[in-house]
């Protein structure tokens, strides 16, 4: 068990190097240099100033030197300064946005599992009945719904038509003067639609996965034994089958992280949520390449850590692995 965790931790090193390599090449091998991109928009910048800026950002060095010095800084959590007008350190801009996106996605993840597990169980237990078929059709529609369209429709229906929910931001104007319960309620109202959009995305896939995982377990001999003992079906399903059926979902939770982070661009731009997705979109639009690189590295690292945590929890939860080594 310890050996397994140690091996996984050691694997992080080459993967992290790979992540920085991909990020660096994506930005630097794309045609046109980052500073050129910025300057191209401003005809007033002369050749000399251009050279000076290049030197300032170290862009006059050969690529491998640039890469090494960049990685060296990242190792010390120094992601450089943002190229935007305020020129703040990238790490500050990211850390002020990160909590919003992470907590929003955590709520979404909890909701997803909270709904997907019972839906999957229901479909599996009622296999091939109209309940299962109905769920299957709904799942397929859920798969096909574009997140930004759902975001727009919710906005139109709850925001514009019914006027129940606020359509942008995290707080209302002047909410600073609210009492605490009112302030929280205001924030919850702002969060309802973004969380719905964030969580429904993987709900369909997850419930489908839960269904097949449950069907696999139900087909096993020990479930037949449990039934043969005369246990009520409820006990067989929820006590004997469920625990094993849930195991593969742990891995899936890790796998769903990149999708969640990537999806945050959509709902954060639609609902004007000041999170990492919106920051990334702004960075990309203003060609703020230090910021873009920083977010790429941090986004990929989050996935890496998420997968590692998922694998370790799997090893702890599954006695076959726990006692195996």
């Amino acid at each position: 068990m310890e050996g397994y965790i140690l091996k996984r931790l050691l694997m992080l090193v080459p993967l992290m190097i790979g992540i920085t390599l991909v990020t660096f090449s994506v930005i630097h091998l794309a045609p046109g240099e980052p500073v050129e991109m910025q300057m191209a928009m401003n005809p007033k910048v002369g050749k000399e100033a251009r050279e000076r800026l290049k030197k300032f950002y170290g862009l006059d060095q050969p690529l491998h030197i640039q890469y090494l010095s960049w990685v060296g800084k990242i190792a010390r959590l120094d992601f450089g300064r943002s190229l935007s007008s305020d020129g703040r350190p990238v790490i500050d801009r990211i850390t002020e946005r990160l909590p919003v996106t992470v907590s929003l996605n955590l709520i979404a993840l909890v909701l997803e599992f909270g709904f997907a597990i019972p839906i999957g169980i229901m479909a599996a237990v009622h296999r091939d009945t109209w309940i299962d078929k109905g769920i299957t059709v709904l799942v397929f529609i859920g798969f096909a719904l574009p997140a930004f369209w759902v975001a727009l429709l919710l906005m139109y229906f709850f925001g514009v038509k019914l006027n129940w929910l606020p359509v942008s931001g995290l707080h209302s104007l002047g909410s600073d003067s609210y009492s605490l319960p009112l302030y929280l309620w205001d924030m919850i109202k702002h969060l309802i639609m973004p969380v719905m959009v964030a969580s429904f995305g993987s709900l369909a896939g997850l419930s489908r996965y839960m269904r097949s995982s449950m069907l696999n377990v139900i087909a096993q001999d020990y479930i037949t034994t449990a039934r043969a003992k005369g246990l009520p079906e409820r006990v067989v399903i929820y006590k004997h089958a469920l625990r094993n059926a849930l195991l593969p979902l742990i891995t899936l939770a890790g796998f769903s992280i990149p999708g969640l982070i990537g999806g945050s661009v959509i709902f954060e731009t639609v609902y004007a949520i000041p999170g990492m997705g919106q920051l990334f979109y702004q960075g990309v639009m203003s060609r703020d390449y230090t910021l873009v690189m920083g977010i790429l590295v941090i986004g990929a690292t989050l996935t890496l850590v998420g997968n590692l945590l998922a694998d370790i929890s799997y090893a702890i939860a599954d006695p076959r692995i726990r006692h195996g080594q």
Partner: protein, 285 residues
């Protein structure tokens, strides 16, 4: 062997036909192809004709899906948008499938160091939120539909690679591969002539599902304004103006979104249908 005896007819087609969802998906895909080929005949107006007198008009007999902020016919724009979606879907998936299959074959056939290195690359690529990577690359390039296809393809091959690798590893151990090695077949010949044909059916399934994914990605990019550039109509960029006018013109958001939904649904149903029909383990329902 006559056509009727073939595996395709005897097993695959019978299974496929028995699955109403798969047939519905297949039919929808055929209809979508027809719509994009016949777009000039189906669209009742030109997709680019601006009409200042009919700005943001609700759906009517003349304009089935209403008109947009420049008075253009939304129905015609949605019909022409189908062309973009199909093009992006197929080219992007084509790129992803070629790369993924090549990496998977090599990785699965030569295990050891080659396999280890290639699979670590897959692991690394899978760490990135694909949408972030696509956004980052696309904005540093000039906006063009070809770049979009290329980038969606280049960030979407990892699943195919893993799938093909697993298949290749199990096929490699079979007796007929050993036999072809004994009669002196080269590695290249074994991979291309003896292994590749046998991994194509799972690849077909994931390609069909991949088309759906690529269409969703393209529409999301166009929605954010960095995909297909106006005035070329794409379902995603029609939705962008839909967002701006959502308070006055629901039709501008509703119909393009519905088209995306139906298209993606069609490819997913078709893909799952092919999977079930190809899988000998799936019992008949």
């Amino acid at each position: 062997m006559s056509y009727k005896d073939s595996y395709f007819h005897a097993v695959f087609w019978r299974q496929f036909k028995a699955n109403p969802l798969a047939v519905a998906g297949g039919a929808l895909v055929v209809i979508l192809f027809a719509v994009s080929l016949l777009a000039p005949f189906i669209a009742r107006h030109s997709p680019d004709t601006i009409n200042a007198w009919h700005v943001l008009a609700p759906p009517s007999w003349e304009h089935w899906f209403g008109t947009d902020e420049l008075g253009r016919d939304v129905f015609s724009r949605v019909v022409y948008g189908a062309r973009i979606s199909l093009k992006v879907g197929f080219v992007a998936v084509g790129i992803a499938v070629v790369i993924g299959t090549a990496v998977g074959l090599v990785s699965g056939y030569y295990n050891g160091l080659t396999d280890g290195a290639l699979m670590r690359i897959v692991d690394i690529m899978l760490c990135f939120p694909a949408f972030f990577l696509i956004l980052a690359v696309i904005t540093f390039l000039e906006p063009s539909i070809w770049y979009i296809m290329l980038v969606i393809g280049l960030t979407g091959w990892m699943g195919v690679a893993r799938l093909v690798r697993a298949e290749t590893m199990s096929i490699r151990e079979m007796d007929y591969i050993m036999a072809s090695r004994c009669i002196g077949c080269s590695d290249g010949r074994i991979i291309l002539r003896h292994i590749l044909p046998n991994v194509l059916s799972p690849v077909l399934v994931s390609a069909t599902l991949g088309v759906a994914g690529a269409i969703l990605t393209e529409s999301a990019l166009s929605f954010l304004g960095i995909g297909v550039q106006p005035p070329t109509p794409s379902w995603g960029n029609i939705l962008t103006s839909g967002k701006d006018y959502i308070e006055f013109a629901w039709w501008l958001s509703f119909f393009p979104g519905l088209s995306i939904l139906v298209t993606v649904l069609a490819y997913n149903l078709l893909g799952e249908g092919i999977r079930d029909a190809l899988d000998p383990k799936v019992e008949k329902r």
